[in-house]
Symmetry: C2
């Protein structure tokens, strides 16, 4: 499979790494909105092109991994490219998925391509876990906990505060809440009871740390509804201790199958690198997109529409004999 | 959906319970090899028929849940019934799955039906978890731990020993092994290092307990390769403390996405009742079988061939808006 990466940020670099670990995939090219000569890949011999040249590669690439952001890149990029290419994206603005699906579906059907949207781990593997668990245990409650991991959106929000030079925010699930859910209590949990937020901040010289702390803790939507800790550190400590992008979390469903008979299903991730893992998921769904396109299964698909066997490099006979 | 149960043992009774918790399903009938009048259902108003009458119900039942055993029932029953009905089974003799698949596939294609085999939790949800994890993390190792839970096969093996009145065997994963795997060490584990076996035995009066203990601990395949404990209890204790059929386990895969960057995926079950949970999985796959048959997707399918969305009672639009 010839794969191309569109966008060379954290996720794009993760995709480069992930493709190298999938022997049936070849990184054919990287497309960027930056000056191509300024983009240095880790893989030798792979060309970098300007994104506005991409249409001339139509027919030469099996699947594009779209590695842009959900806020502004993907709502434009995925529909625009799905008309000429099979594509996979990690669009993760949950509330906008139905609109994104419709736009991508029209484009993909028009062009006769397969477009997989919103894969990664949430949405993606966590969604699939919620769906399997709810389908086999209809009578129950599902809970999703995120972390401990870096939230880029929350880190960015802190960086926009006056006097902040750098910041990193960790979302942390609250252990007692996770245990209560695992124990089958199906508790009603407020936002504050599910997660806390740890902030590590490098303040500019002379900045008012009390004001920064107050601005963080009272920021609506981002922090006001949570117990939040703020720790000031140096730029050196930031680089030394907080340069990785770990993440993870748990999807837990507890339900009853008859009175008092409890069944608990849990799916967990512990990730040293969120972008590299997300990129691994994109690669598996790229394989599925390629196969579905070959079968004429065009249009927009999510993880819910894709049979797990299509993600694997192995043939169905092999999977039945060795993995079932 | 009109569902019928074939076989009314532990799993069949679990299926009756599970159908009642799925509002889009109706239990239409139970088929048995026993005298129908001797089978007392929990659900009022549902007829019980002799299995050899089943062909006259062709066209009147959407899906049959085949609740027989894998040793002798299902290898005959599933191919025989897949020609005239959509069926779901929980065939769990891993080594024989390819042959079972072929036999069922021929019959289902001949009759224009959809047959889902080997669903439950292992094979079934655990298989799917192994496949997702291996596909998104190609560079890693997968481990499956079972338990703490009752193994019916091992309990039966103890009951066949001379002087044993009753027995219950629990398979127990060894905590240090599970922790080593979770920690990303990708350890090489012997059979003995992964699980231990706890046996609770009611001895007949005057039976030689030392001999029974020795016979259990040295039994090839079943116990000889494990650390095994044998505890003698009374029949009253057996009924009071060991009449449930709990089970569960973990599928864990740890892999690297780049040098030294570890990612861990885990799927776990903690089940108060193995048969009731397994039956819940059968019901979800019955829904998928029904839909696939309506689309003309005939033949034998496993959990690997079935998109998760087909398991849910909810429409794709709803799932995208609420569960993705």
């Amino acid at each position: 499979m010839k794969i191309a990466i569109v966008g060379y940020g954290n996720l794009g670099r993760g995709a480069e790494t992930a493709i190298a670990r999938n022997p049936d995939m070849e990184l054919a090219a990287v497309f960027t909105r930056r000056a191509p000569a300024s983009v240095k890949l880790r893989t030798p011999g792979v060309p970098v092109f300007a994104l506005d040249e991409i249409e001339r590669f139509k027919g030469q690439i099996d699947v594009l991994l779209l590695c842009g952001g959900s806020a502004t890149d993907l709502p434009e990029m995925t529909p625009a490219l799905a008309e000429s290419f099979n594509v996979v994206d990690s669009f993760d603005t949950h509330a906008s998925i139905p609109a994104h699906f419709d736009a991508v579906n029209s484009a993909a059907l028009r062009g006769g391509h397969t477009a997989v949207i919103s894969v990664g781990w949430d949405p993606g593997l966590f969604s699939v876990s919620r769906l399997y668990a709810a389908s086999v245990l209809p009578d129950g409650e599902s809970y999703t906990f995120w972390g401990r991991g870096v939230s880029q959106g929350h880190s960015d929000a802190i960086r926009r505060i006056d006097g902040v030079a750098d910041a990193r925010q960790y979302t942390v699930p609250i252990a007692q809440a996770v245990e209560a859910v695992r124990g089958g209590e199906n508790p009603v949990l407020t936002t504050r009871q599910k997660h806390l937020r740890e902030c590590y901040v490098v303040a500019e010289e002379g900045a008012d740390r009390e004001r920064i702390t107050r601005e963080i803790k009272t920021m609506p939507n981002y922090f006001a509804d949570y117990d939040t800790t703020v720790t000031f550190i140096t730029q050196e400590e930031m680089q030394r201790d907080h340069s990785a992008l770990p993440h993870g979390g748990h999807v837990i469903r507890c339900g009853e199958t008859s009175d008092g008979v409890k069944q608990t299903v849990e799916f967990s991730l512990k990730l040293d690198s969120n972008p590299e893992f997300t990129a691994g998921v994109l690669c598996a769904y790229a394989r599925a997109a390629c196969r579905m396109a070959q079968r004429g299964q065009f249009g927009c698909k999510t993880a819910f529409d894709i049979a797990p066997g299509d993600l694997s490099p192995f043939a169905p006979e092999y999977l039945r004999a060795h993995m079932l």
